[in-house]
Symmetry: C2
Subunit: 101 residues, 2 copies
């Protein structure tokens, strides 16, 4: 973790929708309906379910998720035509360690 990465993470976490997504992804089974094809949340939640819940446009949420994945906050796994996103707890922990004294 360095200054640049930490500020990029801060940028992702400076928007209520994005922060809300991070919170929802703490408990996928609680916050999202079950996936119809995949029978689990092992790789997180598919982009369209996340989008539905935010009520924002597809392109906006896709951009959010892509950026959050680029800075490491989320991990993306593709299954067929679906993209699944889950929290990257390791990076989140590294970020919190960086800002704590």
């Amino acid at each position: 973790m360095d200054l640049k990465l930490a500020t990029q993470i801060g940028k992702c976490l400076s928007n209520q929708t994005r922060m809300q997504i991070m919170e929802w992804l703490k408990e996928p089974e609680r916050n999202f309906p079950p996936h119809e094809t995949l029978k689990h949340f092992n790789d997180g939640v598919c982009a369209s379910y996340i989008q539905d819940k935010t009520k924002m446009s597809q392109s906006t949420i896709s951009t959010y998720l892509t950026n959050m994945e680029k800075c490491g906050l989320l991990v993306m796994t593709r299954h067929g035509k679906w993209s699944y996103f889950k929290r990257n707890e390791k990076l989140i922990k590294a970020y919190t360690k960086y800002i704590i004294k």
Copy 2:
């Protein structure tokens, strides 16, 4: 800690200069010269020393510090004509607890 406050904190931590200030304030005696009037860093570091180190304008750094204090990241103490800023470890910890699963 709630969604709104967490994103405000994220905003403060989304800028390299502000994040750098947070890092410097972890170790005032290491990163700043001793204060001439006050003989300690108990209340943190005075605004002008912080400004000097960033090489940015007085008004910009004053705005930064004021906003960081408003969202609780920093605690401000006034001694005479000087404003001293120190980290608010309690709030920082609350923020990290909020984002960690």
